[in-house]
Structures are given as structure tokens and as C-alpha cells.
């Protein structure tokens, strides 16, 4: 699944993003979204950061959640709006054009039961990733869950080298066409643990090229009086 590099190329063509994602993931993208959505409790209030064309958003809506989807790309949101007309009409989905740094201005602290972000971190710089994790910690209610799912590179040095070599031509092509590149993101779980999340867990799926990292903002517990 190293072909997630193609994502950047596909993103410039928002209307063809879904077809492209299905192709390059060998049709597994749907089940991938499904597996990410399964980490979210049924029927809760979710923030989908970087919802794009609404792939994961649809999976969350299927679980009966009410969703707020934000994305920095207007063309991607336009596709999502078109696709998810029904839940928007029912008031179960709100789509907003916001980047990660704009969240703190627009959304109140602790206003979501869950915050999810799928295939977003690989497009952010380290500084932005760190900021995003702190921001997610703020946005989720105490006891709520945060899930970050993204491409990862293998842990061992040799495997990582092979992975990089295999990915290089694709990365070069993407860079030439769109002048951007994605990169696998490792170490999200450490970043989350370091930012006050508890029960941090990382699960590898999709041929070990994809990692779902989840963590919980500590709940407010009553401490027994001494």
C-alpha cells in the first residue's frame, strides 16, 4: 500500500479522488475506513479532521454518529457535500472549511465525544502534527477517544530501506506532477502518550502499511476523600 503517495496527486483532482483511492488500495480503502470507524463508539458526536471527499465520514455516519467534517480544501468539501446530501439534510452532518490551526478559533473545548483523522497527518509537517495532537486533546471531551490513522513505514532498518526504494519512483512522479509529497508518519503513539492521552494503542492494518493509533483523554474521576 505504498501507493498512498498517489494521494497527493489525486487530491488535486478532487472528483476522481475516491476512484483513485479505491484503485491504489486494491479496493481495500472501504474496509480501511470501516476499520477506523469501528474505533468510535456508536451514535456519538464526532469531529472528522481532514474529511476530504467524505470516505471515512460516510463510515462514521453508518455507525449512527453525528459528524462535523472539516477540511482545508474547498474542492474536496464540494465533492463530500455532493456525496453526503442526505445526512446533511437530516442535520447529522456539518461540513466546514477549516484548517487545523483554525479549529481553536471556531470549535469549543471538549465539544466532541471523538476526534478522528485519517490520511491527514502524512501531509502535515512535524510541527503541525504536534499542534494537531494538542488541539485534538483540547477538542475531545474528558473520557473521549482520539483516533489518528495513517500510512507508516516498517520499523526495521532494512525493511524501511526496501520500502523507501519501492516508493521512490512513485514519490518522484507525484512530486513532478503536484510538487508535493507525502511521507509515512511514525511515532504518533509516542506523541499522543506524551500529550496526556491514556490507553494509547497502535494497530497495524492493511498489509502493515497502515496504522490506527487511538488514545483517550483522561476522564474526570471523583477521587475518594481521605
Amino acid at each position: 500500500m505504498s501507493s498512498f503517495v498517489f494521494m497527493k496527486l489525486l487530491e488535486t483532482r478532487a472528483s476522481r479522488y475516491d476512484v483513485g483511492m479505491r484503485m491504489i488500495s486494491w479496493g481495500r480503502i472501504g474496509s480501511l475506513y470501516q476499520q477506523v470507524a469501528e474505533g468510535v463508539p456508536k451514535g456519538c458526536e464526532v469531529l472528522d479532521v481532514g474529511c476530504g471527499t467524505g470516505g471515512l465520514t460516510a463510515a462514521l455516519l453508518d455507525r449512527g454518529c453525528s459528524v462535523t467534517g472539516v477540511d482545508r480544501s474547498e474542492s474536496m468539501l464540494a465533492v463530500a457535500t455532493e456525496k453526503l446530501r442526505a445526512p446533511i439534510g437530516e442535520g447529522r452532518l456539518r461540513l466546514r472549511h477549516l484548517g487545523i490551526v483554525q479549529l481553536s478559533r471556531e470549535l469549543a473545548e471538549g465539544s466532541f465525544d471523538a476526534v478522528v483523522s485519517c490520511l491527514v497527518f502524512s501531509e502535515l509537517s512535524r510541527t503541525e502534527q504536534r499542534y494537531a495532537i494538542e488541539e485534538f486533546h483540547r477538542l475531545v471531551r474528558p473520557g473521549g477517544v482520539v483516533i489518528v490513522a495513517d500510512e507508516v513505514a516498517p520499523e526495521s532498518k532494512a525493511a524501511r530501506l526496501a520500502y523507501r526504494a519501492g516508493r521512490a519512483p512513485l514519490a518522484a512522479l507525484t512530486y513532478l506532477v503536484t510538487q508535493t509529497s507525502t511521507r509515512p508518519v511514525n511515532g504518533i503513539e509516542d506523541e499522543m502518550a506524551g500529550n496526556g492521552f491514556e490507553d494509547v494503542a497502535a494497530t497495524l492494518i492493511g498489509g502493515r502499511a497502515f496504522q490506527v493509533t487511538s488514545g483517550r483523554r483522561p476522564a474526570c474521576r471523583l477521587t475518594p476523600q481521605q
Binding site: I100, V101, R105, T127, E128, R130, Q179
Partner: protein, 357 residues
């Protein structure tokens, strides 16, 4: 966000010959560095805060100037996708959002007590300073166009807005000539190599660099205007020279091959070079198809709504990078040099009463 967890990257090494060379040859492409905070000297709570793009070349240039100046200050690197200040700002990738991101990602509000940023002058087409103030509380002042003029600006003008126009000195022209030559070298050189063999390709690549740099050197003195008026004569001249050279080398094949190479090289260089020139960029966008050259529609010229325009306010006059606006006898702004205007949008963006459109 607490300051101690903010990403602080130490200022980059300012001398890096290999990196500089690679970035010069591939100047068309973005080279992104980590956005966030850079610290110079031992800044305190009233130290200056500068902002720049995250194009590696620019960050190193700015760092060198700030280091040489020995100033205790902060530099915020905005996430502009690795694109330089003017292209990013005029193309919609260095606007209010990115400055807001620079402020938040750096955690600068925990480090200083004031709320004043020094923005590069050429962010004026993209950053809406009124919106920035209402969103973040930060007030922006514009520094000089060239960061090398920063010491003088700090001495004489800070924090005032002073008129400054873009220049295109010999050194920059040569740099841009080298950067621009990648396109003719690749787009003509590779087909030429396939048709005429490797050595033909190598010769075309070398010639592309030579012609591109020579064109850059004479660019400001050319009698014809940028665009088609420069392209036709150059393509014809190089085509003729190529044809004659090819004929001298050998038969009909060489003659035709070198004539075609000449025309293609001339057309590519003359059509594209204006987009490398700060005096004409935004108007020309042959190879800017990957990237919008300006927020304004093609051929845009600013018109001033005179009743709305504030008497004697000359923000647009000073902010225009070409000095194309002046105050008229009624103290209203007027576009006096429409040919000079490059549709960059700075006057529209910076007008305090939105009287320019």
C-alpha cells in the same frame, strides 16, 4: 499552546554550497523546511518577531541577515508549501491563514508581550492585515522587499510603511537565468537527445543554459515588451542560427533538427522568462500552470472608488511593488502607470476601506 512544547528549530546553517547549487538548478520547485519558530540571540519579551515563508533558500537567506545583524529576535516560518514569499502570497498560499498558522504553530504569543509582526513586504498581495488583526490580535507591519535591506529599514523606518519597489539587479538576473534554463534544457534537450543522439542532447542542454543566462542579462534592455513581442524575434533568430549551424555541420537532417531546436528554445525562454522576473511576474504564466501566478483575474487593473478612498491615505501607493499608483490633486489614489501594474493585488488587499477593486 505552551511555549515549551512549541517546535523550536535552531537557525539553519547559512553556508551550504551543495544545497544552494541544487536549489539553484531546480529553482522552479519548492523546497520546504519545517515551519515554526527560529530563535536568534537571546530575545526577551519585547523582541522583534519576523515572519517568512518555508522555502529553504529564503529561510537561509533571512537567517543569515538576522545572524549578521546580531539582533535578538524571533523568526516565524509559515507553512507556505516550500514556495517563496511572493509566488506563495500572490498565488494564495501565503495569506492570512498561513500567518495565523505561523503564530499558532510557534506559540509566539507566550514568548512576547507585544502583538506586532514584521511581514515580508511581498506578502502584501496575500495577507489581509485587517482580518489577521481581528482573528489573532496581531498587528502586521511590512518590512522592505529585499531582506538585505532589513538592517537599513530597521535603522531608519521601522515600523513605518515606506515605499519600496522591486528591482532586478544583474546578480538576481543571472540566478533566475540559470533557474529558468531547466525547462528548455529538459523540454528541448531530451527530445533532441532522442532524435539526434546523446551528444546533441548535451549540446542543447549547455546551449539552453547559455542562451537563458544571456537573455536574463539583456532582459531589462530589450526593445520589445515581454511576451509575444520578445518571443517571435528570439525564436526566429535562434531558429535561423540553428539552421545555419546545422547546415555547416552536415546535411538536411542536421539543418532541420537544429533549426527546430533553435525555435523551440527561443520560444520557451522568451515566453517563460518574464515569470522569473520580479518586474513582470504575475502577468506572465506560461510555466506557472502548476501554480496560480496571482489572485487577480488575468489582465486585472485596479480601479479606485474615489468617494470611498480616504483623502491623503497613501497605503496603496507605498505598498505597490512597482510604484504604479500615486495620489492625485484631490489626494485620492490613482493608477498612473497601467503598463507598470503587474496585477499582483497588493493594493486591493491592503486598502483599509476596500475602495480598490
Amino acid at each position: 499552546m505552551p511555549a515549551d512544547t512549541a517546535a523550536v528549530t535552531s537557525p539553519p546553517a547559512t553556508r551550504a554550497p551543495v544545497r544552494s547549487t541544487v536549489q539553484l538548478l531546480f529553482r522552479s520547485f519548492p523546497f520546504a523546511v519545517e515551519p515554526g519558530l527560529r530563535v536568534f540571540g537571546n530575545p526577551n519579551r519585547s523582541s522583534l518577531v519576523f515572519v517568512t515563508c518555508n522555502f529553504d533558500h529564503t529561510v537561509r537567506l533571512v537567517s543569515r541577515v538576522l545572524t549578521d545583524l546580531g539582533l535578538d529576535c524571533y523568526l516565524l516560518v509559515a507553512p507556505t508549501g516550500g514556495v517563496n514569499v511572493w509566488c506563495a502570497s500572490a498565488g494564495g498560499h501565503f495569506g492570512t491563514d498561513e500567518v495565523e498558522a505561523a503564530i499558532k504553530l510557534s506559540g509566539i504569543d507566550k514568548l512576547v508581550d507585544h502583538h506586532r509582526l514584521v511581514l515580508p513586504r511581498l506578502t502584501s498581495p496575500g495577507v489581509n492585515t485587517k482580518q489577521l488583526r481581528s482573528r489573532t490580535g496581531w498587528r502586521a507591519v511590512f518590512g522592505p522587499i529585499e531582506v538585505t535591506d532589513l538592517p537599513q529599514w530597521l535603522d531608519e523606518s521601522f515600523p513605518r510603511l515606506v515605499a519600496d519597489v522591486v528591482r532586478f539587479p544583474v546578480r538576481t538576473r543571472v540566478e533566475m537565468g540559470v533557474g529558468a534554463a531547466l525547462w528548455p534544457a529538459g523540454l528541448v534537450g531530451i527530445p533532441a537527445a532522442l532524435v539526434g543522439g546523446v551528444w546533441t542532447g548535451v549540446a542543447v542542454v549547455l546551449l539552453s543554459y547559455l542562451v537563458s543566462v544571456l537573455f536574463a542579462l539583456v532582459y531589462p534592455r530589450l526593445p520589445a515588451k515581454p511576451g509575444i513581442p520578445q518571443t517571435v524575434p528570439l525564436a526566429a533568430l535562434l531558429g535561423l542560427a540553428g539552421g545555419l549551424g546545422g547546415a555547416a555541420l552536415g546535411g538536411l537532417f542536421e539543418t532541420v533538427l537544429w533549426a527546430v531546436v533553435g525555435v523551440a528554445m527561443g520560444a520557451l525562454i522568451a515566453l517563460d522568462f518574464p515569470s522569473w522576473s520580479p518586474t513582470d511576474v504575475c502577468k506572465q504564466q506560461l510555466l506557472c500552470f502548476l501554480y496560480p501566478a496571482t489572485l487577480a483575474p488575468a489582465g486585472f487593473l485596479p480601479t479606485v472608488d474615489e468617494p470611498a478612498c480616504i483623502d491623503g491615505c497613501d497605503i496603496c501607493v507605498k505598498v505597490c511593488p512597482k510604484g504604479a499608483l500615486e495620489l492625485n490633486v484631490f489626494d485620492k489614489a490613482t493608477l498612473t502607470d497601467p503598463d507598470g501594474c503587474i496585477s499582483c493585488y497588493a493594493c486591493v488587499q491592503q486598502c483599509p476601506v476596500d475602495a480598490i477593486s
